[in-house]
Symmetry: C2
Subunit: 133 residues, 2 copies
DNA sequence: CGCAATGCTTCACGAACTGAAGTAAGCGGC
DNA sequence: GCCGCTTACTTCAGTTCGTGAAGCATTGCG
């Protein structure tokens, strides 16, 4: 598309850089599987965007969609191997967030967030894997 | 803003998910430092977007900007520690791209140094269950 | 003087994302 | 029978984001 298509970083970036994509994958990795579960977990996502993301991800072979002909209709989404292979990436992002973006619960004070962390000092040491969200 | 601000994944995602952001960081990590170098390397990026990205990244404390009062005026951008900490993430993306998006890394710009140099952990060449899409 | 180079900014346009609302299909309550 | 509830979406209008072309400011060179 826009940049070098032969570059694996670019190609991964194109998958990953949609606005909610990574978060959808994270939620799927954490066991959420249904549309409305994702919708509630990712609070703020519009159903259109979620629908678009899931469909794109399905087309990429990153998620699998399974419909159950029940009432009310049930649809479950799950990561494929190709999707699960993105989990380390997400864990890296979590580690980065913890190390360099470390704000535990407070963000809406605004203004100063950059000066706090931008001075070149990591805020926490590396925490392994799955944290409670 | 959109989702849970207490989640480190979300906060990292917000930094990383701008359309060219990761690629800008990669180029910076590979040694490119000037506006027009980046502009040419990321062919297809609009100067406005590059300018926006660089400024946002600077405000995040991820890149440092240094101006030289020469003629023509020179400006150099470089990653801070906080920015360099994102390189493993990019390497993960490269590994993912190579494993699952099955295109070899052909960076004709001589960008190959990182693949060679950043090989602290060898990219395991697993068999990607060949996605014939 | 006119042109070139660098590092932007401005502009108009189209693509992407948003929030609210609507749709379909059937179950349970009244 | 009719109403409302649920799920998994789709549609719509509106806002924000990214694009490509062009412009601006500086000043050294021919």
């Amino acid at each position: 598309m826009s940049s070098n298509d032969t570059c694996p970083v670019c190609r991964t970036a194109e998958i990953v850089c949609g606005k909610w994509t990574l978060l959808v994958i994270r939620d799927l990795a954490e066991g959420r599987s249904r549309f409305c579960e994702l919708e509630r977990s990712l609070h703020g996502i519009s159903p259109r965007t979620l629908s678009l993301r899931l469909r794109a991800l399905e087309e990429e072979g990153i998620v699998e969609r399974q419909t159950f002909p029940e009432v009310p209709p049930r649809v479950e989404y799950a990561l494929t191997d190709k999707g699960r292979a993105l989990v380390p990436l997400i864990e890296d992002m979590r580690a980065y967030g913890i190390q360099w973006l470390a704000v535990d619960c407070i963000d809406e004070d605004g203004a100063d967030e950059t000066t706090a962390a931008a001075d070149g000092e990591p805020v926490a040491e590396r925490e392994p894997a799955i944290a409670a969200v």
